[in-house]
Chain length 351, copies 2
Amino acid sequence: MSRLDEALKSIASIDPELLDKAQARLDMLTKPKDSLGRLEEFAKKMVAITGNLTPGINKKIIFTFAGDHGVADEGVSAFPKEVTPQMVLNFLRGGAGINVLARHAGVEVKVVDIGVDYDFTDCAGLIQKKVMKGTRNIRKGPAMTRDEAIKCIEAGIELALENAGEGVIYGTGEMGIANTTPSSAIIAAFSGQPVADVTGKGTGIDDKSYNHKVRVIEDALNVNKPNISDPIDVLAKLGGTEIAGIAGLILGAASRRVPVVVDGFISTAGALIAYELKPQVRDYIFASHNSVERGHKVMLERMRLRPFVDLDLRLGEGTGAAIAISLVEAGVKIYNEMATFGDAGVSEKTI
Amino acid sequence: MSRLDEALKSIASIDPELLDKAQARLDMLTKPKDSLGRLEEFAKKMVAITGNLTPGINKKIIFTFAGDHGVADEGVSAFPKEVTPQMVLNFLRGGAGINVLARHAGVEVKVVDIGVDYDFTDCAGLIQKKVMKGTRNIRKGPAMTRDEAIKCIEAGIELALENAGEGVIYGTGEMGIANTTPSSAIIAAFSGQPVADVTGKGTGIDDKSYNHKVRVIEDALNVNKPNISDPIDVLAKLGGTEIAGIAGLILGAASRRVPVVVDGFISTAGALIAYELKPQVRDYIFASHNSVERGHKVMLERMRLRPFVDLDLRLGEGTGAAIAISLVEAGVKIYNEMATFGDAGVSEKTI
């Protein structure tokens, strides 16, 4: 059995009884019932995901997958393609947004070259999982072969399995100039919605470039005719290596009951591929922030996930995940560390 | 000149030029312009508040003011009044929600007895600022005399001044059974909106008790006839000692250019008193979370403040402020620690 098939086979829904058990403990704590809102929801979900009635978090890792996109040649991004490797080097030196926010939240960042069109040499700290030097231009044909797409997914699964363990939580992140284009293409394919309704301005293109971007995505759908009952076909034809890596990371994590905090728009496209392959993965996902990118909401609704960080972020890299991991951790600490009414000698509700 | 008059006199609006200078630095950092959304806004505001072009945060303090309310006798709360001192003891032992979330965010909690109807003896760590043993029942007459209200405000100002310094940020919090009742009364008075439109279910009362709570607040407004052009009159007649203490803390902080992160519904009632006394205080306030309590939004809109944590919280104590302080700090770190395009050798936008 392939690594992918094995992961898919190992993923099961969470046990709702664990949610009830966690709720019972939350209701004993010195606070009005449900008054810590979504922090309580996070604690319950962590109990159910891990199967541990006193779950702890002792290792937080964000995987930032980097890959290039042939479709960048169409002028769909505000930044030139060489920014992908430049930003990878910035990540490794600790100067990017994700580095700052991860340090703030006590999260380790692992930078993964899964498909950058650049030869990195002597890059201490870079995880080498390169499957190809950038995807092919989706306006003209498939981004990847089916085999390449599966290799990228399996690279993500490998990373998930290698780092899994008790008390581990993952976050997803990405870097890849032009990667909102394949992400919008993927959600347009699955949702059947008009491309313009699920396409945003990415890093900040002007109106003319935006209209062009929409046309490029429409062309990509017409040329490739992805089969949405076969998510790997959608991924191979429209996707990116980093999107595939993220899909794999999520599948691998869910197969080992490791929670995954998913970043914004592009990461959610990866999550959507994982979900279309195995809907039960949604139980293991925390949707972090509400991206400014249109289309993000459509994907989250499809997976019935509700984000919880609303800071107008649209950087990617895993920045929203870094903030969200800290909030999930806050929920777990509430669950583990708060005194009960009994312990604290506090009177309970009377009406 | 009284301590209150001195504070009011010292508060000035922030200098918008500082916002522009901070924006110029943010636009040099290795990210698409504005892509870190509200985190960038927080950094700019911190520069303007402190007047420091490289502002740091090295001390985070949440002041949790505790006070009792005569109106609790009317049965407006789900919990009995003795819970106020019980929770104060829980705070001092570190077992409450605010303790857990403050530890998570590296924030110190200072618990202030400003008006609890209980004699605390041998309570290490409790800050004694008791002005009175609970307010009087607002359904029957004023909660406090004008002099008592000013004493409470000045207790808050004192704490703000004693702890002020470079790199300091404050958060507000409170504990006081029945304190959503005076908070709703205050916002109903200033806004002129029907009481039911600005009154919520507090710690979780049933529909019958809710209707009763609305009537109690309507009676309090009719009996007291607060003069809204005199915010101290509104505070004295309808308020609470902890609401007054929070108003004072905010005034004192603004007078020393210390930023204040304001918690939820009750804290915002305190902020509103400060704002009605001196509208410029709004420049020094970060509105943390969007409370489940109706009326909260009305107050924030009146002050033109936009909250940024949306976790369905309704506990108070300073819990939303603890989470929000960490996000403000994240914004400051982005501003200080990210590499610039020049430093990192990253190409800039082309279209």
